[in-house]
């Protein structure tokens, strides 16, 4: 069950993880992009976090909308519109609700995945966040329960690690062609952390993936 206070706690927890992982995300992006994924995400989620704590509401849709608009105006790059799209889809799905169950969470995640595909025009296998969002959404669809959320977080982490072997087809890494192989996609890692923290807020006790030792 996701409540408004759990949602706010999720954004807070995700922001904290981004703070921790900013150097790693920048480093991954440096290897195959322009080196600012961690910096941009941290800036955006700090802004979103501040905005949420200053505008209390019991509407999950309104909270998601606030996060989306803040990310849109503070992240930039490709991550801004993409992560904003995730929260815009959450907002549409959860409008007027103060809490949602695993089924409604699943539906929102699936909608977010579809939104990412439309906005980013990427397909599975192109070394983008779709490579995480797609299997995670599918896992949840097959098992739209709390345990499905845990499984989705595990699947997301494995998928993010798996992007190391992929050649980029979208985003700045695509210009490297074959040379993009060997580095994990930073947007996929930040997405996997998203699923990890999301599951942790709802279920609790989720083990934190040791990203720095796993992907650097």
């Amino acid at each position: 069950m996701l409540t408004t206070s759990a949602f706010v706690a999720f954004i807070q927890a995700y922001t904290n993880r981004l703070d921790e992982l900013q150097p790693l995300l920048d480093q991954l992006d440096n290897q195959i992009g322009d080196g600012d994924h961690g910096t941009n995400m941290t800036r955006g989620f700090h802004a979103a976090n501040e905005r949420l704590t200053s505008t209390p509401t019991d509407d999950l849709g309104a909270l998601s909308q606030t996060v989306a608009m803040t990310l849109l105006s503070s992240v930039g790059g490709a991550s801004g519109p993409l992560y904003a799209t995730v929260f815009l889809r959450f907002s549409a799905q959860w409008k007027g609700q103060s809490q949602v169950d695993a089924k409604e969470i699943t539906e929102a995640i699936v909608q977010a995945r579809d939104g990412l595909v439309v906005r980013g025009k990427a397909h599975v296998g192109e070394k983008t966040m779709i490579d995480v969002w797609s299997p995670a959404a599918q896992t949840l669809q097959e098992n739209p329960t709390v345990s499905g959320l845990l499984k989705a977080a595990t699947v997301a982490a494995e998928a993010a690690v798996g992007t190391r072997e992929l050649v980029a087809g979208k985003g700045r890494a695509a210009y490297l062609g074959e040379r993009s192989r060997g580095t994990c996609d930073p947007g996929s890692v930040s997405s996997a952390v998203f699923f990890e923290e999301f599951a942790n807020v709802i279920v609790g006790g989720v083990e934190k993936t040791p990203w720095p030792t796993l992907v650097s």
Binding site: D26, Q27, N30, G33, D34, G35, D36, T39, N40, R43, L72, S73, S74, V75, G76, G77, A78, S79, G80, P81, L82, R119, G120, G169, K170, G171, R172, A174, Y175, L176, G177, R179
Partner: protein
């Protein structure tokens, strides 16, 4: 990292303040990263922009005969849709707005979202995407080629077309023809360091150069040993000529663009070879620009852009323009 800066978080903000203090003909929209010139309502308005770190692009091309507004993003990061929308709102008159965007996933997405928002407000917006970098293979399966220094030709020519009073559709068509006719490629001798990261964007040995570099410190397409300037020019020019349908007797404009830390002397040495090669192929150089137009912070290196001209493009290229970084 050694940089002339104060707070890293104030880098773009303080730069924009410095620009308008030096150039009072430009104005910064309050609370934004948008630079505009005095509004001219009876023409198509041109809005461009991109990440910061490419100075003089893009604010340096705002002025009569070129852009109406430039939107600055964070360092090497596309500006956000709300900022682009502010620019569109500020400059649009009754003839519509043309957005000139460089082909990067982030830039295209952010400008597209701003265009959608402006359209909802009833503003007529068209968008053109510049993809002049021939170092990147063009394919329907990828996002295609990057936009680099050749974008400045698009600013100039579309700017002249707008100033001449052409309608939006025509200005957009001329911009697209310019994009189809311009081909560029760059090389780096040393990387650059984004202030927020503090680390060089890639490592290059003392005797290595990075061929096919972009303008965001991203690695190029291959790494090769350093060699004489003429050979480096030939490598870039051969690839450009393979991709551009330029033949004996054609007219071209040449842009030799420094990436931020290349002495002007070296750019002139490169230009000497370019002129010789084009003369050997009986290609007529109508105009040559040598200097910094679209940089990549303190990267050493340069790019070559060739624009194939026709009668109309020549006329528009030569039309008057008064901006910080381009005068004609």
């Amino acid at each position: 990292m050694k940089k002339l800066m104060n707070e890293v978080g104030h880098y773009v903000d303080e730069m924009l303040d410095g620009i308008v203090l030096a150039h009072p003909e430009l104005r910064r929209l309050p609370g934004t990263t948008v630079l505009v010139r005095a509004k001219k309502a009876d023409k198509v308005a041109l809005v461009s922009g991109g990440g910061s770190g490419h100075e003089p692009a893009h604010g340096g091309f705002v002025g009569p005969g070129m852009l109406d507004a430039a939107v600055a993003g964070e360092m090497f990061t596309s500006p956000t849709p709300d900022q682009i929308l502010e620019a569109i709102r500020a400059v649009h008159g009754d003839q519509g707005v043309l957005l000139i965007v460089k082909n990067y996933t982030g830039d295209v997405m952010n400008f597209e979202m701003a265009a959608e928002m402006a359209t909802m407000e009833g503003i007529h917006v068209e968008q053109v995407v510049v993809d002049d970098d021939v170092a990147v293979q063009n394919s329907t399966h990828t996002i295609g080629r990057r936009g680099i220094a050749g974008t400045v030709f698009v600013h100039k020519i579309a700017g002249a077309a707008a100033e001449a009073g052409y309608p939006l559709e025509t200005v957009a068509q001329i911009a697209k023809r310019t994009i189809a006719n311009v081909h560029s490629m760059g090389v780096a001798l040393s990387p650059c360091t984004v202030p927020a990261s503090g680390q060089p964007s890639f490592q290059l040995a003392d005797d290595e150069i990075e061929i096919g570099i972009g303008i965001h410190g991203e690695p190029g397409v291959r790494r090769e040993p350093i060699r004489p300037a003429d050979d480096v020019v030939d490598t870039l020019l051969d690839t450009i000529l393979e991709n551009a349908a330029i033949q004996a007797g054609d007219d071209v404009a040449v842009l030799v663009n420094g990436l931020g830390a290349t002495p002007l002397s070296e750019l002139y040495i490169a230009n000497r070879r370019i002129a010789k090669r084009l003369a050997e192929q009986s290609v007529n150089i109508q105009q040559t620009r040598v200097g910094e137009y679209m940089t990549s912070l303190e990267m050493a290196g340069f790019s070559i852009s060739l624009l194939k001209l026709d009668h109309e493009l020549t006329k528009l290229l030569n039309a008057p323009a008064t901006t910080i970084a381009w005068r004609s």
